[in-house]
């Protein structure tokens, strides 16, 4: 999902860089204020951990294999602000050391994977683990948030590519969201299994580690939420209205579509697309909504099968 240079134009690069800078600035301030000094080196080590964890290959099917991306796992373990700093570090090192992701696209990548992926994923994690308390709820929350963050980040990525005129929105959205709905299943599964493994070995590292900052929590999320909302308004919403909606379809069937108001926003490349592609985008959005419900159910089932129900039975065991 790393956008290389040359894929996004100047206006998108500047806007995403401004959003990313605001988000990272907020996160740094929050971390400096609330993270104990003892845990400062952990940020660097967590970033190195994310990098190293990507070397462990999970067999998927036939000869293919996948690996953890891990933004939500780190966010669940360290909290949203620390996760943004960790993800930003990983992306900067990947960009300057390994040429993975563009220099001018760094802002877009930090916004997609750091702020939307990790902070957004952490928000979903906190919501779900609040609704389903206990270790079982936390495992389900990591799995579900892992899937959501992968899909959300890919939707923003598609929006930025479409906004730059690199790829038309329906094609970008269908390809990116469709692929990442599958990738996200693996991400959620590995994330939940790894979280469970950490919970078994060092129960002190998970769960209650972020509790002291609980009172400030929602104001913290509100700021990142605002940034994500601005991102939605800029990169996703302008295209959403090009989806064929029911009314438009009925109007076309009844033959009075010429009376309809023209769309308020000019859609880049909207005239080029074959109707099949437009429908594919709408179908992908529907599949995403249905998929979210299915994945949520699967996450709860997964947690139920992995974590024994009785709290007293759950003893820390050595693997």
């Amino acid at each position: 999902m790393h956008i290389p240079d040359g894929f996004i134009d100047a206006k998108t690069a500047v806007t995403t860089a401004a959003l990313a800078a605001a988000g990272v600035g907020l996160a740094l301030r929050q971390v400096r204020r609330s993270l104990p000094r003892r845990r400062v080196p952990l940020l660097g080590l967590a970033a190195a951990f994310l990098f190293a964890a990507q070397m462990v290959n999970f067999p998927v099917y036939g000869g293919t294999s996948g690996h953890l991306v891990g933004g939500v796992l780190v966010a669940a373990l360290l909290g949203p602000s620390a996760a943004i700093v960790v993800l930003t570090t990983v992306l900067i090192v990947q960009c300057f050391l390994f040429a993975d992701g563009g220099v001018l696209a760094l802002g877009a990548n930090i916004f997609n994977m750091g702020i939307v992926g990790a902070a957004g994923g952490c928000g979903i994690y906190r919501l779900v683990s609040g609704a389903l308390p206990g270790p079982r709820g936390r495992v389900a929350a990591v799995a579900f948030a892992g899937w959501c963050s992968t899909v959300l980040a890919s939707v923003f990525c598609a929006g930025e590519l479409a906004c730059s005129g690199t790829v038309a929105w329906p094609a970008a959205f269908t390809a990116m969201a469709g692929t990442h709905m599958l990738i996200g299943v693996g991400e959620g599964l590995i994330g939940a299994l790894a979280y469970l493994a950490i919970q078994r070995v060092r129960p002190d590292l998970v769960g209650d580690a972020c509790e002291p900052e609980q009172p400030r929590l929602w104001s913290e999320f509100a700021r990142y939420g605002l940034l994500v909302a601005v991102g939605v308004a800029l990169f996703v919403a302008p295209f959403a209205c090009s989806w064929p909606d029911g009314l438009e379809r009925v109007a076309a069937d009844l033959g009075f579509e010429h009376k309809a108001q023209p769309l308020a926003l000019p859609i880049p490349a909207a005239g080029y697309q074959a109707p099949g592609v437009r429908w594919a985008a709408g179908a992908t959005a529907l599949a995403g909504a249905a998929g979210a419900i299915v994945v949520f159910g699967l996450a709860v089932l997964l947690a139920r099968s992995l974590v024994p129900g009785n709290e007293r039975d759950r003893e820390p065991t050595k693997p």
Partner: protein, 204 residues
């Protein structure tokens, strides 16, 4: 294997390009990248010029050409897949060529700079342009322990593979994710030792 995966040219080689100052290289790279992304597609002269400069830099950098080509190929799947998606859109067929040219030039620039400049120099430049200190500390620590933890992950995965003789995919996912979880635990324990060591050396 770890070297293959990280794909970084690590020998402390000496060449004309490697001796240039990091500020100069990063500045020129930024100009080339910004120019390549921003100029309109019609400016063939700019693309040819940037290609020429990068070609000369590649020759004088002393990096084996095969290595550069391998890195380019390794990083190109997204470029190729977007080109493919675009090729299916009849109206956009011409534009993916320019996207491919742009991203290849930018990739080549970053590959050349990152393989001729020690990372600590790049960090110093970032420090000079006022990147916050906490971020610099985190980046420096990540870079220091990247290869340590990557080697550790590889050893753990190998040890696990040599002990687990099952074809069952479910069991393999369970054991591999235990490796990932254990890796995080080791990283956080190492972070505590590093903090003590940093304090012992007067980190404030």
């Amino acid at each position: 294997m770890i070297k293959d995966w990280l794909g970084h040219y690590h020998s402390h080689h000496d060449s004309l390009v490697a001796r240039l100052s990091a500020e100069l290289k990063l500045g020129v790279a930024l100009v080339i990248i910004a120019g390549t992304v921003l100029v309109p597609p019609g400016w063939v002269a700019w693309f040819a010029g940037a290609g020429l400069v990068l070609g000369l830099a590649a020759i004088f950098s002393g990096i084996p050409p095969l290595f550069i080509l391998k890195r380019l190929a390794w990083l190109s799947p997204l470029v190729l897949s977007v080109a493919l998606v675009n090729a299916m859109q009849p109206a956009a067929r011409g534009s993916w060529v320019i996207v491919a040219v742009r991203s290849t030039l930018c990739l080549l620039t970053v590959i050349l700079v990152s393989n001729t400049t020690p990372f600590s120099r790049i960090l110093r430049v970032l420090q000079r342009v006022r990147v916050p200190g906490l971020l610099i500390t985190t980046i420096a620590l990540m870079h220091r322990y990247l290869f340590v933890l990557a080697a550790e992950a590889e050893r753990m995965a190998r040890a696990r593979a040599s002990r687990t003789f099952v074809r069952d995919r479910r069991a393999r996912w369970q054991t591999l994710s235990t490796v990932v979880g254990r890796l995080f635990v080791r990283a956080s324990e190492r972070a505590e030792r590093i903090y003590d060591a940093m304090c012992a050396r007067g980190w404030k």
